[in-house]
Symmetry: D2
Subunit: 436 residues, 4 copies
């Protein structure tokens, strides 16, 4: 088995390193230097910034402490491409990332190649002690880069949405499929366990620190919808005054509805009475069988209230997903060809008694605030800033979406966004109390 020796393990790391890194470049390939430069709002980062930042992560957290005779590729890059690590020092203002024209997209490519070479060198020659020391950080770097792969696509989707030329990223829509009815699946409650089984460095598979520790929770019995809410169902919500009835909304949500004029999901626009949706494949009429996406937590909550249901808690979601089978998601079978991929949630297949659309369509809003699990301890040092300091003012989402890289989703994964966020690929699975 290749990973049983240090050399084999290092070899394995190198080959996974190459795979992850190459996928980022493939995702960026359809984007012009101009596309890669734009920051369309403070939450969005330019493509070339993502490409450089994930590189900076390896340079900072792996090379700087382990490369013999380390010297930075470009000293100012540490200032430019640090995202939020206070312990690493000052950094360029986030909302100003879009004014940085240099390094350009090509220069960032050179930075990536340089770090790739140095990472290969390091891993090729690494001794057992060092390997043990850095393997977890390299692994974290993979998952970090995968997170940014997803963000890169969400961000460029927003950038392109503001352009009246209605530009296309790449790929093509999935073929139409018939609508399928929604069924409810019942789950017993009781004392359950949630949280990841154990992190990679303790012999388990990888997880982020926020998925730990595994711990007990008491759940009352509950029910979950077996598929996501569809565009067609959302149109009924709109037609029934969903965006005009204060009684359906949380107070903060109602404030946003009015201040920002929300009247449909984020990327919908009405042209001559027909709803169109901006996608990475261009602007298309809204397909009623596809899952609704790009709705905020506030909208998801209002919809659930309108439907006489509620959103699931994260414990309910994880417990049900874990029951269903392997925690590692297999559902997003992304191919290797960016230009033919479907970068959009797909319709649910036929009902089969399981939870459909769990991992590869839309991140699913839960009713749980993003807070530390009982007993949570962030990692020491700068890496400890990865997740812990954001445990305030955000809501948990579970599952994964059409932009999530293969192998990145799992039942215990805790994604999080502010309740008003609409540019991520977010959708709605309804829940209900059991025994009703």
């Amino acid at each position: 088995e290749p990973t049983s020796t240090p050399a084999g393990e290092a070899h394995d790391l190198v080959s996974r390193y190459r795979e992850v890194r190459a996928w980022t470049e493939r995702l960026a390939a359809p984007l012009s230097p101009e596309d890669q430069t734009v920051q369309s709002m403070p939450d969005v980062s330019p493509t070339k910034w993502h490409r450089a930042h994930v590189t900076w992560f390896f340079e900072t957290f792996v090379l700087a402490e382990n490369e013999p005779g380390f010297s930075a590729f470009q000293e100012q890059y540490w200032f430019l491409f640090n995202s939020y690590y206070e312990a690493i020092g000052p950094r360029y203002s986030r909302p100003m990332r879009g004014v940085i024209s240099r390094p350009g997209a090509h220069d960032v490519g050179r930075y990536r190649s340089n770090v790739d070479d140095r990472m290969s060198d390091l891993l090729d020659r690494v001794d057992e002690g060092t390997l043990a020391k850095i393997a977890a950080t390299v692994e974290l770097g993979f998952h970090h880069e995968q997170q940014h792969q997803e963000l890169l696509l969400m961000d460029i989707k927003h950038v392109l949405s503001l352009n009246p030329l209605r530009p296309v990223y790449a790929g093509s829509p999935a073929a139409a499929t018939p609508a399928t009815p929604l069924s409810w699946l019942d789950f017993d409650g009781g004392l359950v366990e949630i949280g990841h089984e154990g992190s990679a460095d303790r012999g388990g598979s990888f997880c982020f620190d926020n998925e730990l520790p595994r711990h007990q929770q008491w759940l009352a019995s509950y029910r979950l919808a077996d598929r996501l809410v569809t565009n067609g169902e959302w149109m009924e919500f709109i037609a029934d005054g969903g965006y005009r009835r204060a009684e359906l909304w949380l107070s903060d949500g109602w404030g946003r509805v009015n201040d920002e004029g929300w009247c449909a999901p984020f990327y919908w626009s009405q042209i001559d009475g027909v709803w169109f949706e901006h996608t990475l494949h261009g602007t298309w009429p809204v397909d009623p069988t596809l899952p609704v996406c790009h709705v905020s937590h506030y909208e998801a909550d209002a919809y659930a209230t309108w439907a006489g249901k509620r959103l699931p808690t994260e414990a309910e979601w994880e417990h049900a997903a874990a029951l269903q089978g392997p925690q590692e998601a297999t559902s997003p079978p992304r191919g290797s060809d960016v230009s033919t991929e479907t970068w959009h949630p797909r319709a649910a297949g036929p009902a089969d008694g399981t939870l459909r659309q769990l991992f590869g369509d839309c991140w699913e809003w839960t009713s749980s605030a993003y807070l530390p699990y009982p007993g949570f301890r962030p990692a020491p040092g700068a890496i400890g800033e990865y997740n812990g300091k954001f445990m305030s003012g955000q809501m948990v989402l579970r599952g994964g979406c059409a932009l999530t890289p293969p192998g990145h989703a799992r039942a215990s994964y805790r994604n999080f966004f502010p309740a008003g966020a609409r540019w991520p690929v977010t959708g709605v699975r309804l829940a209900d109390d059991g025994g009703r």
Copy 2:
């Protein structure tokens, strides 16, 4: 027993009505018409607005539907003094409450008297059926007015704090007492129940809808500090760079520290190297034995991190408080003389193996987001907006404070504020995992 007959019950309601209403007017008495007019920030409401709004509550939710031949005291008041009830119709913009000079403080007094007379009339003549129908709403009106009694004081404290003349509201500081050490109390975990036992209309004592339903939670064993963090301890936090060390802070909190220049609790200011604190009794040197107050959730969390501890969850807090004894707090023995009262948290008495300072000093930040309990259902109609629609983006506080009216605190009470709020009377009780 007086309340066993409808007439007796109504009589009881009237006498409690008079008591609650009179206390509001006593609290406002030390304030000039000018004091009562000012809104010093959007979160703050003018005193005379509070006095009118609680009156509007009775007029709208009790009189309008039950008074024979009802006609509003002044039609525009429904627009001016509706706080946030969408179902009641449009309302005057909250941040503009301070531009409404008329009705003046005296006119508001006339409005209050008029509604008081009409409420007495109604309750004097009420038949059994109507009484059954309105008793819960009248009771809610008492507790609503008590909430505003507390807010009235928090708000005028902020108004006066911005005045360089350093004005005094009323009352006088408590006598100095010696500092007492902090002890830790241990609590077993397990499957516990939290939430109120049952609401008034089901024969129990009063509670708000957000305290329901009583439900099960699994708790690991934990420990709680037996008293609040003191000013003296907070000074050590400051001296150790507490407000300058990013690693102690939640990301949003660190943003506020920097954007707003936080370097001490809200009402502290340094004069010639000595810390002073604005209180309702004037501006005094900070007393190290008193509990620290007017700190945000972010500051409470950073302090706990610095101390190597954490904040309690609301379930931990309630379970421990309920164990301790009667849910109804007896600790804030407010007298009837506003002018001699101490309107400020007091020092902890000697340690006695119980949780000290539970109800009458500072609202205590928990680590729990303010979310609906499992199975929560808001009341139907406008009253349903009372609590439910705010279950987003806020943190739970437990206990009560020095401004809380007598009889208003209880173990199951869920207060809530945004994590950055500093003008309420908020403090910190530390928690820790058990078995360490």
Copy 3:
């Protein structure tokens, strides 16, 4: 002649002092303590602030340097009631004047009485040298207080306008009069002189420093409308799409129209298809024969463009007004009874070959930016901040308005406001090139 001796001159000053000071108190008399406390927007000051600030002016600029054994009435008042004099030291933030509940309206009255007594004492006992030294500053204090008398009324008008109870200040509307046609008066150009003849301390009548020096200007021949634009004419402008046609507007003005939704003069509102206007006498249907008022420079300019005319320059206005007769305005014959006065522009009388409505109805927007006259020098010291530092970014208005105190208007008077200001009492007199 009483003023020919120092004692007589001092006596004269005292009696004018009393007259001016008393008028301020009469103006404030109809306003409750609550009315006097409110600041409805940053440009507006509370009534009691005006009353205190003009008092502070005498205490600071006259008493502080000349009263034997001077000590301030209340040291903090110098911080609270300094408007904008950098040389006097720091001051309370202007947009926060409305949060200062204390000193209250009555306390301000005590401050006023105290300073009045001390001013009387000083002037009663003053020697010739000191009198010569302070007379000009005392005189400036009169005119300063008169400016604030006008502002006090403009400001409270705004405060009351935001109150849905539609409150009334005092007084009553003028009787209706028939509309009169507009005629044009021709003026030769040539080399003319504008600016005040000379300031009081040089033996002339009083003027502000910004009216000096008198200097030459070359004017082409021009024409002026003999009366102000009326509400009726403004309604035609509205009906013809005046607020919807970009081509009529300066770019900045068009921005305001769209950002702030301008569609009529500031205090107009449409109720069931009828235009009403908020006045100090309450809310009345718009009278088409009255001059339009509360329009910004942008609106005045757009109207003139629509009418195929233009606004006058300040030199054209002054030259014409000076030709017409005494520079000292006699037209606003304000009575001594605030409660029966008409606090609103009146209709033009019958045409008589002169410029009607020059001084007592609306301040008239000119096309001139507020800039120093050639050779302008501000006074030395803090008093030099009175006018000079505001000579940037504002437009000149000429004449006077219905709120201007008697004796305060003159042909050389340069009033100024930003081009977007709408809360002052501003109107429009059209101009045109001559010889067309």
Copy 4:
């Protein structure tokens, strides 16, 4: 003479067209696609936007009405590249120009070529009547494009200034020269004429509508400094507390000093106690002999106050410049090689009894507000929006700067910016009253 026949005149237009258009492309050549995409603040436009907008100008105002069978290159470009012409229809929000990644820099090049071809075709085949009709607009297009050539450089200078990599545009600094003393030149006043002699379509040379009509003004005698204020002199101003002394500043300027922390010219920064300046050639130590640049009107005015002088009026400046010789500036002898040019103001040469540095170094702030000349009439139609609607809230600058294209400056030219603008290349020439 080639231009005496229509064919010759058209030929002449074509060759000038090519020259102007080619210069824009040369200026953009050193800039990467990423550089050309960024908008660093709302006032700044991306390079590729400038390149497209000036092309849109020809397509809209010349081709659309005169090209047989006209059809737009790309319909959406009319929306994207309209700057502010309301009459042309809606347009993309100005502050959002930086989010438009497509069309890219290369696509804009294709747009330019297409319009160039069509313009050539049109002018090649034009008949005499059409030529007479369009010549003035084509000529206006040249000058419009030249204005944008200057803006393109000012804008990219700002973009690059925010990049911590301290990027360079192109070219190199001028060789150092010795400082030369400042002398004063005296000018008689009297009745003078200013404004352009007459526009191109009346047989004169070209001018913008805002330079008309030529008209009379009365000037008192005055004096002008014979060179611009230098960096060295500005350092004395700083050292003497220039940015800390309220009494030197206009009130609005003092507000900006404090709100934005002004303490030196816009592009200056202090590194280890030495002042450096960001230029298009990179970041260099401030050279005390060069003229100070990138100062606002407020700073210019404060400096003049500090120096005991004042700024010139635009009439004083123009009268003096016109006296000096040919109105057409010859001083900015820009070469044809962008990469070796000096894109920065140069030191004054030796005093020679004339006004030095009039046209090719810094735009010079005057004390005149930007207002219409007496008798000004904007052109009919959309072109009338070119200048007239901006005659509000801005100050006039005269001369030209180091980025002004050759042949674009003249004595009657009225440039204008808001008083707080610092990113244009602006400097200071002092003035004084005569006969002192």
